[in-house]
Symmetry: C2
Subunit: 366 residues, 2 copies
DNA sequence: CCTGTTATTGACACCGGTGACAATAAGTTT
DNA sequence: AAACTTATTGTCACCGGTGTCAATAACAGG
């Protein structure tokens, strides 16, 4: 290994030393760029670019040297410049319309969990599904920011208009929903049905026979899933949900309050009720409270979601816990997967909720 | 006005027609760039750039023509390219550690309100103030994304380490806090003190004389403000907060539960209590409920924040409402102001909370 | 030794904008 | 009329990366 060959790289470069000298000279005056790295390593910027992008077309020694320089001077590629060249950004969007703050925040935290350690950042984009410009708005947002991809959460994730638009402009996406609405690599399924089944079993096992259900907003997939799951669970015990005992709510606390009041007027009254979410369950509890009745003595109440409200009211709600944060993480991971070479989607893309027993349920007084 | 002059612009260009033809030819195949606009308008891209950036150095007719082209072909400057040239991005960061989902979401909505119609987008960055890497993390985030600016909310907004870091790297910021901690153009003040005063007045006017206070986490500015304001309000009625009646909470529901229990053991018991936030107030209500006592009959309870929990529990909380969303909007507006020429900061930068009376307060029994 | 192949690297243009400064034309001054 | 201003516009390099394709060297085969 002669060190004199014309085109032979000077194998004697001490990358670390060279880089440390650079550090000393520039004392963090400016962030190093790819050009600095190239110069220090004695290669072209294109080669550095190859290293950054894990190209296999780089000699191992060269790669090591460049990596040493990168480490030492603390070089980080500029996402903006990279994005400009790639014609896309390193931003992930979360487009949502779910009004529940806890859901939103947990989902954000989960997505950020999934993004941690990557070059991606999260841009949030709440929207109003009822607005006639919302598709246009979203398109504008995605195109202008050249988003790497977006994560859609209920209920907007159930709207094909938005996914059609995204496919049309070639933007990757992952939908979070209670049933599989799309190809596997584009879905994270929350399996509300299984959770609701557990709620039904719990009530049946406590001995309830006259059981009511307060449905969620009909236009939401989860409303159907939660109802179906509940009916399935009851069926396992030979119980049927009588039509009289099915009340229509819309997922709000107020609707729970209303339907809770109606519940009390039923004859014979149910001994238990499953509300399709905690907000409505809390409404039912408050309705009883206003009527001077106690939960669970007069009525057992089960919710769904296990949001904060479930533990803030008294009695605390027995409810179905859904791992929102994990769901967010899975969604982000799946979104980033779509770019990596592993054509196979890893992980199940399914999450399973579970029942949390608290004080709002008990055996019927009989 | 000869149309033959050598360097005279062809005044006969019909910008609209030319642009519509472009539209027809390209049928949305790709987004138009500044080069397209320049070509269609028959000017250099630099001149288009001037129009985009509202430079006064452009002839009015030229500007109109370019604007027509821009309108017609729907050109929008690429934020990434612009950012690269400007050495900064069109992203605003929200750095926060407040764990309350409703606060976070409302703040985000408010910031987005303030950003609407601008080229800016919001990137969220929750963090852990106790982590020893959190400053470093934040710095990394801000520098890598070259953020236009960041909005800091409590309690992290009270931490000078982060603002020092931001000033050092030359990043604009706006702090949201309960008192003025910084220069006017960098502050939005929430005036918790005034809100707490209102809470005190309310209780005093109802006839309460033995009044207790559950303090928030001592390291939060708001905890001091809320306490001081409350004491000031009481003082207006010649009342003093006895040391025995000051209990130390930490803003969590659990601490409210604990301190609520302690409250009951006081002799003589207070007839009313002001908890420094709704979570603790809800805890107090639950503590009474567990002890078999009624609110407000046994004890009037006032909270602070007017988050959802205030209306989900029974009785619903009398509390102090803070306009979180407006605060977010103001913060965003102030952040963007700092760049515009108007050296004077407009708007007050102050928001005032107000009392919302509900069922958790009443005159004392006696 | 000549030629084809593979491995590695670099040159150069380009992504879509902006900054610095020069160039041009028209109007003003002397 | 020459020289100076002012208003307006363009040229060219650059921001910090990547894509395309050519160049080079080392190696294998004939």
């Amino acid at each position: 290994m002669s060190a004199v060959g014309r085109k032979v790289r000077n194998t004697a470069i001490d990358y670390r030393q060279v880089s440390e000298q650079w550090n000393a000279e520039h004392q963090g005056q400016r962030k190093p760029t790819i050009n600095d790295v190239a110069e220090l390593a004695g290669v072209s910027k294109k080669t550095v670019s190859r290293v950054i992008n894990n190209s296999p077309l780089v000699n191992e020694e060269t790669r090591d040297g460049i990596q040493t320089v990168i480490q030492t001077i603390g070089y980080q590629p500029d996402p903006q410049a990279r994005g400009l060249a790639f014609r896309r950004s390193f931003l992930v969007g979360m487009i949502y319309d779910n009004p529940n703050p806890q859901y939103v925040v947990n989902m954000q935290l989960g997505i950020l969990d999934g993004l941690r350690g990557t070059a991606y950042e999260l841009v949030v984009h709440p929207c109003d599904r009822d607005s006639d410009r919302f598709i246009e708005d979203a398109k504008q947002f995605v195109e202008l920011q050249k988003l790497h991809g977006v994560i859609l959460t209920p209920s907007i994730s159930e709207d094909d208009r938005i996914t059609d638009m995204l496919r049309e402009i070639g933007c990757a996406y992952v939908r979070v929903a209670s049933i599989a609405l799309d190809m596997e690599q584009r879905m994270i399924v929350t399996n509300d049905r299984i959770g609701s089944r557990a709620a039904a079993r719990h009530l049946a096992e406590l001995g309830h026979r006259r059981v009511a259900f307060i449905a969620g907003r009909g236009s939401f997939r989860s409303a159907h899933e939660r109802r179906s799951g509940f009916e399935e669970g009851l069926a396992e015990f030979g119980l049927k949900l009588s039509p009289d005992y099915i009340l229509q709510g819309n997922y709000t606390f107020e609707s729970g309050l209303e339907q809770g009041a109606k519940l009390l007027a039923l004859d014979p009254p149910p001994t238990a009720v499953f509300a399709a979410n905690d907000e409505m369950a809390a409404g039912v509890v408050q309705a009883l409270r206003i009527a001077g009745l106690d939960v669970p003595e007069s009525l057992s109440v089960v919710g769904f979601d296990d949001f904060e409200v479930a533990t803030r009211i008294w009695p605390r709600l027995t409810t179905v816990h859904s791992p929102t944060r994990d769901i967010g993480r899975l969604a982000a991971e799946r979104l980033l997967q779509s770019e990596s070479a592993d054509s196979e989607v890893s992980g199940t893309g399914q999450t399973t909720p579970h029942l949390v027993e608290r004080e709002s349920t008990a055996s019927p007084a009989s």
